[in-house]
């Protein structure tokens, strides 16, 4: 036993590893650990922010799962949002990245143009703008009227039947970040491999499927995982544009969590919701990580390339 621990201590990787993660680890301990455990504690309390938390055991969790229709609604809305928007955005970002990676005239200008919506993010101005684009008398509806002669009088973002769909479309439209990461990944693929395949007479589709995709898989994996996590945590887009309305049609999980915490002053309940989300997302993410050995190709594990 003693010998193994000594061996363990003599492992140079131990020191190198901890030296490299030291800044991050220090930050975790100093800035994150207390807030994280404090919120875990709060999830078992009744805490209205203004007075001391009261321990109530599992009451918050019990209420969530047995007596809160809005919680159920927020789960449904969020699941639908994630299920549709994450794969769509991923495919879209990948397709555009692959396109922009080709030698098209003005590719550099195009990259900037395509990234713009993401740059503009969620500023006040953008909110007003979306209303103008997809409002009743917005640009989209008048476009449909003048080009196709279709009369539409739907306020896309605020109508109960289209609000969630519009938010999903918006999230797909802001694919810039994922696209940029894909582009960076594409650039890392050695041109020599693709050239070799080209010489062998492989078709473009074949090259993309057999060379590009496998070599890009670590980055696809990243975008998928972050897409899932980000999707479940979606907040600002909804908060800014719809505030969860009309009548809870876009009540994302975190919007409801925030509403509980800072509007209704049920911070304990909000914290409990946060930890339920953490549990659910971590299970899902763990499954994705598990599946990665089937489809993600890492150079560093020693597998040889395609």
């Amino acid at each position: 036993m003693k010998r193994t621990s000594k061996q363990w201590l003599r492992n140079p990787d131990l020191y190198a590893g901890y030296a490299f993660i030291f800044p991050w680890l220090l930050g975790l301990f100093v800035f994150s650990l207390f807030p994280i455990f404090f919120s875990l504690y709060l999830s078992f309390t009744d805490y209205d922010i203004l007075s001391a938390p009261q321990w109530i055991g599992f009451e918050n969790f019990k209420e969530m799962f047995t007596d809160d229709p809005r919680f159920v609604k927020s789960v449904k809305v969020t699941l639908l949002y994630v299920a549709v928007s994450v794969p769509l955005r991923l495919c879209f970002a990948l397709a555009v990245a692959a396109l922009l990676n080709m030698k098209i005239k003005g590719a550099r200008a195009l990259r900037s143009l395509y990234y713009l919506p993401t740059l503009m993010g969620g500023s006040v101005a953008v909110i007003v703008m979306w209303g103008q684009l997809f409002g009743i008398n917005g640009a989209f509806n008048s476009f449909m009227r003048s080009i196709f002669g279709i009369e539409i009088s739907i306020s896309w973002i605020t109508d109960p039947s289209t609000a969630l769909g519009s938010l999903i479309a918006l999230s797909v439209w802001q694919f810039g970040s994922a696209m940029l990461i894909f582009l960076a990944g594409l650039k890392q693929i050695p041109a020599s491999l693709l050239e070799a395949a080209l010489v062998d007479g492989a078709s473009a589709a074949y090259r993309f499927r057999r060379i590009t995709l496998p070599l890009l898989s670590p980055v696809i994996f990243f975008n998928l995982v972050m897409g899932i996590i980000g999707g479940f945590k979606v907040f600002s887009e909804g908060m800014i544009l719809t505030g969860g309305g009309p009548h809870d049609q876009t009540l994302f999980y975190v919007i409801y969590l925030y509403e509980n915490s800072f509007r209704f002053l049920h911070m304990g309940y909000g914290s409990a919701m946060a930890w339920v989300l953490l549990l659910a997302v971590s299970i899902l993410t763990a499954l994705v990580f598990r599946s990665s050995s089937l489809w993600v190709h890492y150079e560093s594990k020693g597998e040889r390339g395609a």
């Binding site: 922010i49 605020t158 109508d159 009309p246 009548h247 809870d248």
Partner: protein, 448 residues
Amino acid sequence: MRSIKKRYSAILLLLAIGLTACGGGNTNNASTNEASNTPKTSASETKEASSTEPVTIRVSYWAGTQLTIDAHDNVVKLFEAAYPNIKVQSEYATGADYTDKILVQAASKDLADVVRVDYSQIKNYVSKGLLKPLDEYVVDKTIDLEGINPLHTDVGKVDDKLYGVNIGNNALVLFYDPDKLKEAGVEPPSTSDYTWEQYEKDLQTVKDKLGIYGDTHFGQSQYEIWLRQHDAKLYNDAQDGLGYEDDGLFTEFFETQLRLQKKELLTPVAVESEIKALEDGPFPKGNSAYGGWGYWSGSHSAVVEKQLNKVVGFSLFPGPSKGAYIKPSFFHGISSNSKHPKEAAQFIEFYTNNIEAAKSLDGYFGFPYNPKVLAGVESEFTDTQKRVRAYLDLVESQGSPIDPPAPAAGSEVSTSFKNIASEIFYEKLTPAEGAKRFRQEANKALKK
């Protein structure tokens, strides 16, 4: 390998630029840090500050926009000139951000010395021990409330102790466009006993003659007026349930709205749902004859008149006039963690009663109510402000006192109301079903 080196040196260069930039910034930060830390050290040193020792107080306020920030800043300058030993550090945030910020500060017992609290929050804040009672400062005249109609100051009392000093008065108003009414041949709403029947008739005439919408849908604030017109309240006295037994009140209110909606007398819900700003509403854009959207007489009148570029009419909402009420726009309170309550009280006094301060604020956060202040600023009133004053007088004479502040669960009840109203207007829910669900949801929230 050469190109690697090239890129590498590029990165090094980048880092070097970054570091020099940091170096420059560092000194900058050190100075700002010092500046911002001074108040903290001085705060602990001057615990029993006499009124001549230098003191810094923090004042947090709910800012509208640049305009209000500048106005407030001007008051601070005047105050600092009058009290050279007191420095004021102002903090502001707009809209819901202010609530968030105050909550976070309250949780850390880090509230500013002077905080601005809304009528709907004051009871909750007091019950959590966040505010100091101000009575001693009123007694020793640090805050001088003499000669003021108690109607305007008693609203800041909780359990017979004063916790908030009213910043200014406000009242909900039904605007109307006199030109449009004239064109349609409709009489302006009468100043008392403007009935719901007449309102509906007028909307119809406006639509028939001008082909425009009459008004927008009514929401919770108008519902509360409606309840008051029927001698009812939204919350019962114990605030653990709704304040009315008859769901018919709810049903009738929404049936009226639905009827108007079906006759196309109200702006479509879809259009209303797109309103993103005060200036964005159908009334300020000149698309409807009446503006009953929930405008407040205070700051909103000037914006609406500016946007329409014309004089607008002020009216009470339809129904018995007793439904109307005057609301304090905001309160000034002193946080219980304040180390300089005396100086904080001096600031509140200055803000409330100084004539120059009142001139600078220009009634933006509510109308002055102290007769002395009114006399001092009267000569500088704009025409809009004269109309606001006349309207507030009307409300005071015809209305009735404001309902008690909402309980802590009030925002939950409001959310429920808003959702149900939306479902009713989109015709997913009948008013009768809505009434039942509202009672059930509201009572559940209130019993918590």
